[in-house]
């Protein structure tokens, strides 16, 4: 070593005995983990709770570097990106107005029907402090745990859709199994026919649709939401859209788990809220300043004819007038068989 260079050690033989011992220990550990998979959960959460500051500390410079690296490429696309965002913003404003109108209308209908509203969902906002992207495992670590109300089984969503669900919670951290993970199984409902299926991850970017009823044909771009079956997850959380993959169907996820940094842990286990009792002032008639209708006698209400079920009528060929069908309603009800063009 006099020349200042360092040498490779060639000493052998000393490590052989510990190597054998450690190899036996490793095999024993694998078998023990297989037999008692939950045995190490507490150790796992304890280690992650202990390592939380290190994970958060290492997250910040990596995030800064990632943004910096990403911004280099984005410089060349700023103008096009700006135009695209403006257009998207205008479209979203329209949808926002439509959503507000529909939400109000839905509330009114629920009030009129005395419908039980959806259960109130509380949520905890958490940051992603760890992400395991390995060949056979895709998980996240969040900086919210039991102390923040996180529990196993809760859904994890970002602003676009569902990412995964919590499967292990420590005091200050939670583990999330992603939808793309090999062990992920989620009951889903596929719009518009609410076809029930199981969505399972296979470590590819698009999870697989399984356990679909025989003969069901899905259309590409059909929306996939959580079905809420099994009381595991709340129903209606958007997940993605259907993509045909040969003879299988896959789901293109809305959420991008590789870029999600701030997520919500949705608490579903709250009791559903009971609808408020409808007062006289809340009825539309009284709200309009009219007197409420007098209660009808029992005999009159029992004679109300049931509404016949709707019958599908095929469209008429052009130029042909519909046949006049005698109405089965009250005799004094006006019957208008004339078409607008006849008057």
């Amino acid at each position: 070593m006099g020349n200042g260079s360092w040498k490779i050690s060639r000493s052998r033989g000393r490590a052989h005995l510990p190597l054998t011992v450690v190899a036996v220990l490793a095999i024993f550990l694998v078998l023990l983990g297989k037999a008692q998979s939950s045995l190490f959960d507490r150790a796992r959460t304890g280690v992650i709770d202990w390592m939380q500051p290190a994970l958060e500390a290492s997250r910040t410079p990596m995030e800064t570097m990632g943004r910096w690296m990403g911004s280099i490429g984005n410089i060349f696309w700023v103008y096009q990106e700006n135009l695209k965002l403006k257009e998207e913003n205008a479209r979203l404003k329209q949808w926002h107005n439509t959503a507000q109108v529909l939400t109000e209308r839905l509330k009114r209908y629920q009030l009129l029907l005395n419908a039980v509203p959806d259960p109130a969902l509380s949520s905890v906002v958490a940051r992603v402090i760890g992400r395991a992207n390995h060949p056979f495992l895709q998980t996240m670590i969040l900086d919210a745990g039991k102390s923040h109300g996180a529990k196993p089984g809760q859904a994890v969503v970002d602003q676009r859709g569902m990412i995964g669900r919590v499967y292990l919670t420590g005091e200050h951290t939670s583990w999330v199994i992603l939808l793309t993970d090999l062990n992920s199984r989620i009951p889903v409902s596929i719009e518009p026919n609410t076809d029930q299926a199981i969505m399972s991850g296979d470590n590819s970017p698009m999870p697989l649709i399984e356990t679909l009823a025989r003969g069901v044909e899905l259309k590409p771009d059909s929306q996939v939401v959580t079905s809420g079956d099994g009381d595991i997850l709340p129903a209606g959380i958007p997940i993605g859209v259907i993509v045909k993959d040969g003879s299988h169907y896959r789901v293109a996820l809305f959420a991008d788990q590789t870029t999600a940094q701030d997520v919500e842990i949705v608490d579903f286990k709250q009791k559903p809220e009971h609808p408020p009792s409808v007062g006289q002032q809340e009825l539309p008639v009284t709200a309009a300043g009219l007197a409420p209708a007098a209660p009808q006698p029992q005999a009159a209400t029992s004679q109300v004819m049931p509404v016949p079920p709707p019958v599908y009528k095929p469209p008429l060929p052009p130029g042909q007038k519909p046949a006049v069908v005698p109405q089965q309603g009250p005799a004094n009800a006006p019957v208008n068989n004339a078409e607008p063009g006849d008057q």
Binding site: V30, A132, T258
Partner: protein, 175 residues
């Protein structure tokens, strides 16, 4: 004497550097930011210091430390316990048996040497995982992990070599 540890009397601190790098590799592997997106798995940074110091300072990177780094990797990544620990130990056994061959490599050959060790680690992990779940896993992810880990060893080994020269140093018996 300085080469036995840059910290002089505080030699213990310099001796734990290999293990600290291994643990740091575990953390880096599991940070939430991915430069490669979801298509490519995270590189096995923790394997790099294990391989490097297993060759140059096996007294500091013992099988026990390799096992511990692998076990902590299992714990942090959320995998079933023991899978990466067993893979690291299997890789360590191969390196230990063929140390002369690996240690004689330089330049591009050294990268190929690490690629061989990575191939052993990924293959061992694939086999153990498939046996663990009793299900044949797709090999695509393992191949990607092997490739990205082998390529990223090139810049990382520069850092490891600098740290070794500056703070760790060779074995006393080599003087």
């Amino acid at each position: 004497m300085e080469r036995l540890g840059g910290f002089g009397s505080n030699r213990v601190a310099s001796n734990v550097i290999p293990v600290l790098f291994g643990l740091f590799g575990v953390v880096i592997t599991n940070v939430p930011i991915s430069a490669f997106g979801s298509w490519i798995p995270a590189p096995m940074y923790a394997l790099m210091p294990v391989y490097y110091w297993c060759l140059v300072r096996p007294d500091l990177m013992t099988p026990g430390w390799a096992f511990l780094i692998g076990f902590i990797h299992d714990i942090v990544s959320g995998e079933p316990p023991g899978l990466w620990a067993a893979s690291f130990v299997a890789t360590y056994a191969i390196i230990d048996k063929q140390r002369d061959a690996f240690a004689g490599l330089s330049g591009f050959g050294a990268i190929l040497g690490f690629a061989t060790a990575t191939l052993v680690a990924c293959s061992a992990h694939y086999v153990i995982f498939s046996l663990y779940h009793w299900h044949l896993m797709p090999v695509t992810g393992s191949i990607k992990e092997f490739a990205v880990t082998s390529i990223l060893y090139i810049p990382v080994v520069v850092v490891l070599a600098y740290m070794h020269r500056r703070f760790v140093g060779p074995l006393r018996s080599e003087f």
